[in-house]
């Protein structure tokens, strides 16, 4: 008989106990996270709904024009218009709110963490396996504690998205800060810069192009999470996909799906365009 002997380790049970413990012990913290996340989403959504649809499309065209070209701008505008004709305009606004909130929170958390990892070898050693786990763990798994902490809804979606999308910006920030040319650091030092001046005036600006690449990846991953996140109650395009699966509604599924693709294209190209801007005056060594 080749089957494994009956030894049970119950690791899962311990994790559950740990999550319980966290929920009780850190209630205040979770309330705070809930408060901040929901405020961010609501704020962004309110703003987007406040904009007339045509003004939003014009803004998208202008942004596309500024960072890429007039042709791209018009194409992006057309994409948005098409989503509107699918009857998914409000859902798209919701999705954008969730993604943008998740990305903002990722940056606020991720950049300082990445910087600290670049400065502290010890911290970096501790963080690496955690980041690996965050990225490789199937994303459905952390939907469960998300519901546990925040209940069904957009905040849980953001929490799950955070865990999945946070690693790239942290990693690339660390890489970027470590990668700043040694001589440039020394020249800043030789003028008597304080550590803070060094970070703000030299290291971060020098690292910015690489950090922007991290932002791009983080954004794309946040977008990739919208369907999965809808399983914990996120509204928007992801929810429509989920509904269409349940109803086997091919038409809706396609429309919602292609809308997500349109969003992905626009966000990817625009964040790339921003990164190129920063890169403009730096040739690769």
């Amino acid at each position: 008989m080749g089957s494994f002997p009956n030894i049970q380790s119950n690791l899962g049970d311990y994790v559950e106990m740990f999550v319980d413990f966290l929920d009780e012990g850190l209630e205040g913290l979770f309330d705070l996270i809930f408060f901040i996340s929901s405020r961010t989403i609501n704020g962004i959504e309110a703003f987007l709904n406040f904009l007339p649809w045509w003004l939003f499309i014009i803004l998208i065209i202008l942004v596309g024009w500024y960072f890429k070209s007039i042709g791209s701008g018009l194409l992006y505008g057309l994409f948005m218009f098409l989503v509107g004709t699918f009857g998914l305009w409000d859902e798209m606004m919701m999705t954008i709110s969730i993604v943008v909130s998740a990305v903002l929170i990722c940056l606020v958390l991720g950049i300082p963490l990445g910087v600290y990892m670049a400065f502290s070898k010890g911290f970096s050693t501790v963080m690496r396996p955690i980041l690996d786990a965050m990225q490789t763990m199937p994303s459905f798994v952390y939907l469960i504690p998300a519901i546990f902490f925040f209940g069904l809804g957009n905040v849980s979606a953001i929490f799950a998205t955070l865990i999945y999308a946070l690693p790239p910006v942290i990693r690339l920030t660390e890489l970027a800060i470590r990668g700043v040319d040694e001589e440039v650091i020394e020249s800043a030092q030789s003028f008597g810069s304080s550590r803070w001046q060094m970070l703000m005036k030299v290291q971060l600006p020098q690292a910015l192009p690489t950090i922007m690449a991290g932002v791009n990846q983080t954004t794309m991953m946040a977008l990739a999470m919208v369907v999965i996140a809808s399983m914990v109650g996120a509204q928007g395009l992801g929810e429509q996909v989920l509904i269409s699966i349940n109803r086997i509604d091919i038409a809706l599924g396609f429309e919602a799906g292609i809308s997500i693709v349109f969003l992905a294209i626009i966000i990817d190209r625009v964040t790339n365009g921003v990164a190129d801007r920063f890169q403009k005056h730096r040739r690769a060594k």
Binding site: S187, A188, G192, K201, Q206, H281
Partner: protein
């Protein structure tokens, strides 16, 4: 202590896990290789001592890996010496705490880097004002100073460009302007021109000397190029395996290299660009004053066995030269010394390099007259002297030659001055 700007006092820098524990081995006299073999530590600088004077260009040269960068980086504590003291204006900077060190770096010392070390996210103006910005100087004031320094290095009009839009030579000018903007007493330059191609490099060397002439900074300059070292250095230190093996003026090192390493190093040097007129000239053992007249001139020439003699006025300013033939002819025709003196004498300055003197020596029918800054006659140069300056092996002989003339000479000049 007061007159030297920087004093390096038995400084050692050791790289490895426990450098402090290795320092005593240097005092015991163990070599760099022995220490590496026994402990795995690399000795970057091995018990170096030197003094650098205010306002001089001090060059440190040596082969790759000889510890030049390691040493110069001790001067602003980018490297902290493992052992020894560094005095700047009499203060041991090695003992500085963070705030003092920050202030020292902000006010007293600036560095120019081999690969420029520019901030490519800032414009040229932004780069040059950086040192002032971190001292919290007002925007208006610091931009004014930055602008002046950009103009000083000849980059007016490039303020809003980014470093990557400039050529290598221009980028290093930015590096220089950025260092000068802080108005430091001391300028550290670690192979600043090595990354530039030869023509640009020569321009930059001249420009540095030009700027130095105006600003009178104390400059510590690193190079592995002997010609560069001897061209711009007032004094030169030669390093080998982390040790300082010789310190001296370029001429003194050329004339008396301390060991084979240095002889080897300097064998390719273009001596004509190091030796100056004053190093090869001979002090005249006979001079004639205008008021002395022709008879005295003839007598002087006969006594000294020479065929021509320089004529000077009371202030020892050169009036011309008179040959024995012209003098005798003049006496016959009852002419005065003033009538027969030949003014077609080529003069060179004491500081002129032999390189520049060679063509003049070839063209002139008389010896070249060597004058000092006040235009007074200091000596003369024959073609044979020019040659002797170019050939290393002849140095010993030509020294004797100098000695011989000097012994008889000073006295003559003094006589005339009376």
């Amino acid at each position: 202590m007061a007159e030297n700007k920087i004093k390096i006092d038995h400084v050692s820098k050791i790289f490895g896990p426990k450098p402090k524990t290795i320092a005593p081995m240097i005092k015991e006299g163990k070599s760099k290789d022995e220490i590496l073999a026994e402990t795995g530590h690399t000795v970057g600088v091995y018990d170096a001592s030197m003094e650098i004077n205010e306002g001089e260009v001090f060059v440190i040269m040596g082969l790759s890996g000889s510890g030049k960068s390691t040493l110069i980086r001790c001067f602003n504590l980018l490297n902290k010496p493992t052992d020894g003291a560094i005095y700047v204006d009499g203060e041991n900077i090695v003992e500085y705490k963070t705030p003092q060190l920050k202030k020292f770096r902000q006010d007293k010392i600036a560095m120019v880097f081999q690969h420029f070390g520019l901030f490519n996210h800032r414009t040229i103006l932004g780069n040059v004002e950086y040192g002032l910005e971190i001292k919290n100087m007002s925007k208006e004031e610091r931009q004014k100073i930055a602008q002046e320094n950009i103009e000083l290095v000849g980059l007016k009009g490039y303020e809003d460009k980014y470093p990557d839009e400039l050529s290598g030579g221009m980028q290093q000018r930015v590096g220089l302007a950025r260092a000068l903007a802080n108005d430091p007493d001391i300028l550290l330059m670690d192979e600043p021109f090595s990354a530039l191609d030869p023509l640009i490099r020569r321009d930059m060397q001249l420009e540095l000397l030009d700027i130095q002439e105006r600003l009178k900074k104390t400059i510590v300059f690193i190079t592995h190029d002997v010609n560069e070292a001897f061209k711009i250095g007032d004094r030169v230190a030669v390093m080998k395996d982390g040790k300082v093996v010789q310190v001296g003026t370029p001429e003194s090192i050329l004339e008396a290299p301390a060991n084979d390493y240095i002889s080897d190093f300097i064998k390719d040097i273009d001596r004509s660009k190091v030796f100056q007129a004053e190093h090869v000239m001979i002090k005249p053992n006979a001079l004639v004053s205008l008021k002395d007249g022709l008879n005295v001139a003839v007598k002087e020439m006969q006594q000294n066995g020479i065929s021509s003699v320089f004529v000077v006025d009371r202030g020892r300013h050169l009036k011309g030269i008179v040959t024995i033939d012209a003098a005798i002819e003049g006496i016959k025709q009852k002419k005065s010394l003033e009538d027969v003196v030949d003014t077609d004498v080529t003069t060179v300055a004491k500081e002129d390099y032999i390189n520049d003197i060679i063509p003049k020596a070839l063209e002139s029918k008389f010896p070249l007259a060597v004058t000092n800054k006040e235009d007074k006659l200091e000596g003369f140069i024959l073609r044979v002297h020019v040659l002797s300056g170019l050939v290393a092996d002849d140095i010993e002989e030509s020294k004797e030659y100098h000695g011989y003339y000097q012994a008889t000479n000073n006295q003559t000049i003094e006589d005339i001055e009376k």
